[in-house]
Amino acid sequence: MIRVARLVAVKDLRVEWRSRVILWQVLPFGVMTLLLMGFAEGPETTLSPSVAAGLFYVVVLFVSMLVIARSATIESSPGTANSISMLGLDPAGVFLGKATAVFLEVLLSALILLAGTTLLLHLPLALALHSLPSVVLVVMGLSLAGTLYGALTSGLTGSPTLLPLLVLPTMAPLLIAGERTISAIATHQTWSSWLGLLIVFDVGYTVAGILLYGVVEDS
């Protein structure tokens, strides 16, 4: 399983490195969305850290949606899909590998966007640095759940519109937990219960993916 996961993760990352879709298409989209958030707020007001954190996570959510859709289309051309499925790879390994690649890609984007949030939406830098563990856990949840939902909708006629419909409601807790953690750090409150929730989400989707990815993929 681990061997297949590594193989798939390296392959997906290499494909991304060659095509640079995330660098040239997804990240500019994310930065533009951050700018739009600033425009929507208006020039007079300064955002509170809590609102800036919420906007940051909304943008990360949108960016992850694009990365997930991209990850699901790597094998989408019919010939490639056929010959890859004939390799008979262990589905649990494929799930973990794809999720790992998505995780690294979204994490990198999220870090850049976090820097952008401190710059554009005035999120205090110390706060941003303190919240890094929760960012990592949120991105992990997005990647794991997203990879499973990406497989659920792959190869279907309406998949580009169907994926957000399925993914967004399930990711509501990630958004809430991520934003709350940053707000809690800002106001010096405890945030361990939010970290607990994130860990439960991540572990739950890891187990669900390992068990169910094969059922979904076996088409």
Binding site: R3, K11, G79, N82, M86, L87, P91
Partner: protein, 216 residues
């Protein structure tokens, strides 16, 4: 020679449209089965069914002793290899990376890579991205992928489309070699231009089932 593929009155649907409407055929190890017929007759669907990529709506079938209905289709797929005319690999990876991936995925020795690349004549293009290869070279990469994996059933979807004469002769050589080693080759073609020095059966598919067939 042992029978590796058996389809009996197989019906496969795409949505509500029956693409296969009662296909019956058998294929043996070391034999080449050519599926002929017009566009939309169901040739590709037949190959996909045999490769464990489609589910049976009706009828029955067996591939490598595994039941198409109740058996583990993932196991069937491991026995099969696919070569499509549109490319059956990752366009963003180089020739070497593609083949390394296929070898590692199947647990094969990377040493086989050099031999298979040699066999298809792509040694000079190892570090070229697959997307940049010509149509003939893309086909060769697909063949190298097959040669390296050595599956017991080769499913070739229109393998000679868009190939020039020398490339066709080359493909024939590869197929004859594989057939001699006991591989079962099933290929689709809309015109009859392959002359193989091996046992060949030809079946014509029209409207999703066999119209006529002959063996040589």
């Amino acid at each position: 020679m042992s029978t590796v593929v058996r389809l009996d009155d197989a019906v496969v649907t795409a949505g509500r449209f029956p693409v296969l409407t009662g296909l019956t055929l058998t294929a043996r190890a070391g034999e080449c089965l050519v599926l002929e017929g017009p566009n939309g007759a169901g040739k590709t669907s037949a190959l996909r069914l045999i490769g464990g990529l489609e589910s049976l709506a009706r009828g029955s079938g067996e591939v490598c002793g595994i039941d198409l209905r109740r058996g583990d289709r993932r196991e069937i797929r491991r026995h099969c290899g696919w070569l499509g005319h549109e490319g059956s690999f990752y366009d963003d990876l180089t020739v070497r990376e593609n083949l390394t991936f296929a070898a590692r995925a199947g647990g094969f020795d990377i040493a086989g890579l050099a031999t298979s690349v040699e066999a298809v004549g792509l040694s000079q293009r190892l570090d070229v991205r697959a997307a940049l290869l010509s149509a003939g070279q893309r086909r060769r990469l697909g063949i190298a992928w097959l040669v390296m994996r050595r599956p017991s059933i080769w499913l070739l979807d229109e393998p000679i489309a868009a190939l020039d004469t020398s490339a066709r002769i080359f493909l024939q050589g590869i197929l004859e070699d594989a057939l001699a080693k006991g591989v079962c080759v099933i290929l689709s073609a809309h015109d009859n231009t392959m002359e193989l020095r091996a046992p060949v059966s030809r079946l014509t598919i029209v409207g999703g089932r066999i119209e006529m067939g002959e063996s040589s």
